[in-house]
């Protein structure tokens, strides 16, 4: 994809300056019924080129954190920096991928992928788009409308849309949460390959412990309301990781380990699925 060399193993990029720094991020939502404490003093460095997964129970503030990282909304306190730049609005180096693909139903695939260029008032980089479409096996589907595509194809299209403007940081909010298990495995393989080929930094939110371990260099576990960072796990499994790795005993060991750490510090009613 890009000219960046292939990387071999995880965690090779530790000692560089962090890609993004989150310092004391705190957020309250003001609502009619009072204020909701969504994030509490979250501090985290996103390393350059790493695959970081954020794991946590529903409503713990994962999306809130990611939206702040993408400059889509502000914090009550603390700050987020991309390199030296404070993030207060969307940044061209950052692209977001949403759950549900989020394609515009009134545009065909080609027009959907051209959207970022239109909004940035730049000529469409057709060469790059064609290369990406071929890479994710969507070549030839440009004239199709979103409703004519499967969920997996839609999400692949949205990945092409985000990569088409060549961002260096990808923020993904449960991108495969709505897909069936098989498609999800496929997408996980694809995103791993893309990450290995492009050297992008990826922050990936998920509910699934095994998805997080499968993809991540580091797994950040958040605790429920107010959202805090509970623990961070390094995942040093060599890449590329095949899908069936998830059935191996040492992988299951890691899942149980993370699950135990979560169960340790939570009330019994809320849970995380081992999927």
């Amino acid at each position: 994809m890009d000219a960046t060399p292939m990387r071999n193993v995880a965690g090779a990029s530790d000692k560089k300056a962090p890609k993004m720094v989150i310092a004391g991020a705190t957020k309250y939502y003001q609502t009619r019924t009072g204020s909701v404490h969504a994030l509490d003093n979250v501090s985290l460095d996103v390393r350059d080129g790493e695959f970081l997964c954020i794991l946590g129970p529903s409503g713990c503030g994962k999306s809130t954190l990611l939206w702040s990282m993408g400059g889509l909304h502000g914090l009550t306190d603390g700050e987020i920096r991309l390199g030296a730049e404070k993030i207060i609005k969307p940044h061209p180096e950052i692209a977001m991928i949403f759950q549900d693909a989020n394609l515009l139903p009134w545009r065909n695939l080609a027009a959907n992928i051209a959207l970022p260029f239109e909004l940035k008032r730049k000529p469409v980089d057709q060469q790059r788009i064609d290369m990406l479409l071929k890479r994710v096996n969507l070549w030839g589907f440009e004239s199709k409308f979103p409703r004519e595509l499967s969920g997996g194809m839609q999400q692949r299209a949205s990945i092409v849309r985000s990569l088409s403007v060549n961002p260096s940081l990808l923020l993904m909010d449960e991108p495969f949460g709505a897909l069936d298990a098989f498609t999800r495995d496929e997408m996980n393989l694809l995103i791993q390959e893309i990450w290995m080929e492009t050297g992008k930094t990826i922050v990936f939110i998920t509910h699934s412990i095994s998805e997080a371990i499968f993809l991540a260099d580091r797994v950040v576990v958040m605790s429920a309301r107010p959202g805090r960072i509970a623990s961070v796990f390094d995942i040093d499994i060599p890449r590329p990781r095949p899908v069936d790795i998830q059935t191996r005993p040492d992988f299951i060991e890691r899942v149980l380990h993370i699950k135990a750490s979560i169960d340790h510090g939570r009330s019994p009613s809320e849970g995380l699925a081992i999927t």
């Binding site: 909304h73 502000g74 692209a95 549900d100 515009l104 069936d180």
Partner: protein, 283 residues
């Protein structure tokens, strides 16, 4: 930060497990204008029309219904041709008033809807008055307008604008209110300005309802044009209705009705096709 987006994170509707059924076609509520009609269907439609018109002709003749009660279809068609030279200037007047009145009303209605939906508080204040305009027959104002503006086209154009504008406005507003925060967030994440969000997300999103508003508004405009012409003035198809009925020239009277019906159906077909082109993604 975009004000409309604020802090909100949209709820994504998760697909239910095993839920298929993506391939819903476009012909959901086709009203018989679909483009994939078979020869047999076309034949049947023509046949039914022939039976109804021919049947009316025969029955009217059979029972000897007098012309001044209900003229036969053939008499109506004949009147249309023989009187055409006298009718068409009035047709032009009616179309002119409808077009100008509708253009004014629809533009104002559209802009108002677009602006007002951005400010919920303003919307709360303005909506009751718009509802008042929608529910009050604008025809009632025509005598007053004539008093003020005379017997020219202006009072009728104003009445048409007042009748169609609010229809366009309330329907478009419904469309603009259907904000999809996820799509707005998407556009913003690519650096979209508020204006770009409006043109690239909000307008296309509202388009199906805008088209409905334009259709309903133009039909209301037509009714009001004809009604206003019947109330006062010496021009237009509405005026011809009063004229011919006063003279008990029923074939001519029904010829005008036929023209009005054709205008109405043309409006419907026009917006049906516009909807097919610009809003078919919704169904």
């Amino acid at each position: 930060m975009d004000k409309a987006l604020g802090d909100k994170i949209p709820e994504f509707n998760r697909k239910k497990a095993g839920g298929g059924g993506d391939g819903v076609g476009l012909s959901g509520t086709s009203l018989g204008l679909g483009d994939h009609r078979t020869k047999l269907e076309t034949l049947t439609i023509i046949l039914v029309a022939v039976v109804i018109i021919g049947g009316a002709e025969l029955l009217l003749k059979w029972f000897g219904v007098p012309q001044y009660v209900l003229p036969t279809p053939s008499l109506i068609i004949m009147a249309l041709f023989t009187e055409w030279g006298f009718i068409w200037p009035h047709l032009l007047v009616t179309l002119y008033e409808l077009l100008v009145g509708f253009a004014i009303g629809a533009s104002i209605g559209f802009v108002l809807a677009a602006v007002i939906t951005q400010f919920p508080f303003v919307e709360k204040i303005v909506t009751p008055y718009i509802l008042l305009l929608v529910t009050t027959p604008m025809l009632a104002l025509v005598p007053l307008l004539i008093l003020k503006l005379g017997f020219g086209s202006e009072p009728r154009i104003i009445a048409v604008a007042l009748a169609s504008g609010p229809m366009v406005m309330i329907n478009s507003a419904t469309g603009f209110r259907r904000v999809d925060l996820a799509k707005i967030a998407l556009a913003r994440s690519f650096g979209a300005s508020t204006f770009q969000i409006f043109t690239k997300i909000r307008i296309p999103m509202a388009m199906p309802m805008i088209i409905v508003g334009l259709m309903v508004g133009s039909i209301f405009g037509l009714l009001t044009t004809v009604g206003a012409e019947m109330v006062g003035g010496a021009e237009g198809l509405g005026n011809r209705l009063t004229y011919y009925s006063a003279l008990i020239r029923m074939p001519q009277f029904f010829a005008i009705i036929l023209i009005l019906a054709i205008i109405g159906i043309s409006i419907y077909v026009l917006f049906y096709w516009i909807g097919k082109k610009w809003a078919s993604w919704e169904t």
